[in-house]
């Protein structure tokens, strides 16, 4: 067998469910944190665009903090199914905020940019 196939055999023996769960939790926390930062920044940008025109964004921040509170709970999940359900809730909330913001704020953002670019 070649080098890679030997590596695969090693993975097949040593990448146990326990190791998988630990690595999944670490990765889940890392990408959920990235999502929180990303959505938070998007809301901040929307806030800059909204200055002097519309009301401040409130509910989307609340939903984002809710997903932020849920994120550390990923560490306490016991099975893959529990992790998947919790991760789906967290990602679902963040994704909904992201899509809603992109759709609702699109025109405002473009007007803001258009003003600076002159198109």
């Amino acid at each position: 067998m070649g080098l890679f196939q030997n590596i695969f055999m090693w993975i097949g023996t040593n990448f146990t469910t326990e190791v998988y769960m630990v690595s999944t939790k670490i990765q889940g926390i890392l990408w959920s944190m990235a999502d929180i930062v990303l959505v938070f920044v998007l809301l901040k940008i929307a806030g800059v665009v909204r200055i002097g025109t519309k009301k401040k964004i409130v509910f989307r921040y609340l939903f984002l903090w809710f997903s932020g509170i849920l994120t550390p709970l990923l560490l306490f999940t016991q099975t893959g199914t529990q992790f998947l359900i919790l991760e789906s809730i967290i990602c679902g909330v963040q994704f909904s905020i992201l899509v809603y913001t992109v759709i609702v704020e699109r025109e405002g953002m473009m007007s803001f940019v258009r003003l600076r670019i002159g198109k």
């Binding site: 067998m1 070649g2 890679f4 196939q5 695969f8 055999m9 993975i11 097949g12 023996t13 040593n14 990448f15 146990t16 998988y20 690595s23 999944t24 990765q27 890392l30 990408w31 990235a34 999502d35 930062v37 990303l38 920044v41 998007l42 901040k44 940008i45 800059v48 665009v49 994704f95 992201l98 899509v99 992109v102 699109r106 473009m110 803001f112 940019v113 600076r116 670019i117 198109k119």
Partner: protein, 195 residues
Amino acid sequence: MALFWTFAEGLILIYMRWGVLFLRRGEGRQRIFLIFCVIIFFFLICLMFGGENYFGRFIDLERGHNLKAYRWGLWNFFCTLWVILEGIIMVYVLALYEILTPHLKKSDLIIKKEKRRRTRSGITYGIPVLIISLFSLYIFYEYNLLSIIDKNVIEDKGIYRISLFYIRICGLFWILFEWIVAYVGIKTYRLMKES
């Protein structure tokens, strides 16, 4: 779930592409691209729901580990697809940032032209490189896994673990791309706030 997340990622990608086209050309029409996306998505639906029947005509899926290998191969294919979509979104976010920077910094025309040139090359080469390299990784991984299965030296549990490991590799790319997008987002926000 695989199709839902593909759709979700695709939706964000379409919006990002619209933004880049709009800023570059003054309008963001992408009818041909949308038709292309719908066709691809239709093929993905067919693959998801009819793939076993279709490939079952050519491969005996009931024999040995074939069915297990096929199902994991399909799931890992979708994982690769999500990472590719996320990577393309990252390229478009970088492009948006490069288009916006000179305008928000109010620098001169030469810098503007330079930035636009760089953005164009970033999209021109960045996206094909991403697609080719990540699909190559997928094919390379699946090829090696199938070679081991073919030699009958691995059990079901081994296939399961090797396939899960691939998802963790995809996870690394996913995290990297997401943090790059988040970082560029922070930089864009700062620029917008200062402008």
